[in-house]
């Protein structure tokens, strides 16, 4: 893949920002919080490297593996739960507006809806890991016991 000059400039700027923040941060947690604050999505690998999503600019040996496990656990759970929490808490309101439709939830808001799943998928190509579900038109009541 050939990158444009503009893209190179942006990557250069981005690396400068990360390097600057790395020097200023007092701890790995502080740096991760700073990245969150400015909207840069990051994660820590099992080996303890800091990775930035999309650009994949990494800082090897960012933290030792044992600390990586702790950081990954706390951050991953936060990421995982947000959309589900939001959906669960707002289900009644969502059902009133989107009953009978497929919806995509991203960053605790509905970013797309459609009466068909293929159409919804076409609308959400730009999002990484949007939560997808079908909102029933009727009130949701637990009626079954299941074992496969």
């Amino acid at each position: 893949m050939k990158l444009s000059a503009t893209t190179f400039e942006k990557i250069g700027d981005f690396k400068s920002v990360i390097e600057s923040m790395s020097i200023e941060a007092q701890s790995p947690t502080e740096l991760l919080s700073a990245l969150d604050r400015i909207g840069i999505e990051s994660y820590v690998t099992e080996e303890g490297h800091l990775m930035i999503r999309y650009w994949q600019i990494g800082a090897e040996d960012f933290v030792p593996p044992e600390q990586a496990s702790i950081i990954r656990t706390s951050r991953h759970l936060t990421d995982q739960g947000d959309n589900m929490d939001w959906l669960s808490k707002n289900l009644q309101t969502i059902r009133e507006e989107y009953g009978g439709k497929w919806v995509a939830v991203y960053n605790e808001r509905i970013v797309a809806s459609s009466s068909t799943l293929p159409d919804l998928m076409n609308q959400i190509e730009e999002y990484d890991r949007p939560l997808i579900t079908l909102i029933p038109a009727e009130p949701v009541i637990w009626t079954f016991t299941y074992a496969l």
Binding site: L77, N83, M84, S88, R95, L131, I132, V140, F144, L148
Partner: protein, 145 residues
Amino acid sequence: MPSKNFERSVKFYEGKTQNGTSVWLPLVDVSLITPSNSRISLPLLFDTGASVTTLRADLYPLLGLRSWNEGLRVQTDTGGGQVDAYQYTATIEVFGKSIQCPIQLLQTLPLHPLFCGLLGRDTVFNEFGFGFWESTHELFVTEIP
């Protein structure tokens, strides 16, 4: 007795039965990798009674299928008796691991906005260890079983 350590926990969500009582559902946010390499987040019910990870049949477009019943036909026991399911292979990301595993599509799973299917045992559970406390609605997970 051995001592076990867990790095993760699974959150329970409240559902209501017809008579208004609460049921608590351990729901796991699973990423399905689609054939076009995008990642879709699907809430699945953690189900030790499910032998295979199972999705509602109407999710077949996420697997790149033209219909839900193109795959290997298998008979599956459900609470309502034995029914046909169709089996495929897909990659999911769950609890920080990427796992290629069998996925079944089933028409009789209920429509519920908080989960799209069941996270079942085949291949997936081998990768983890689980600790379950029903009374406190706590499910703990270790990546190092």
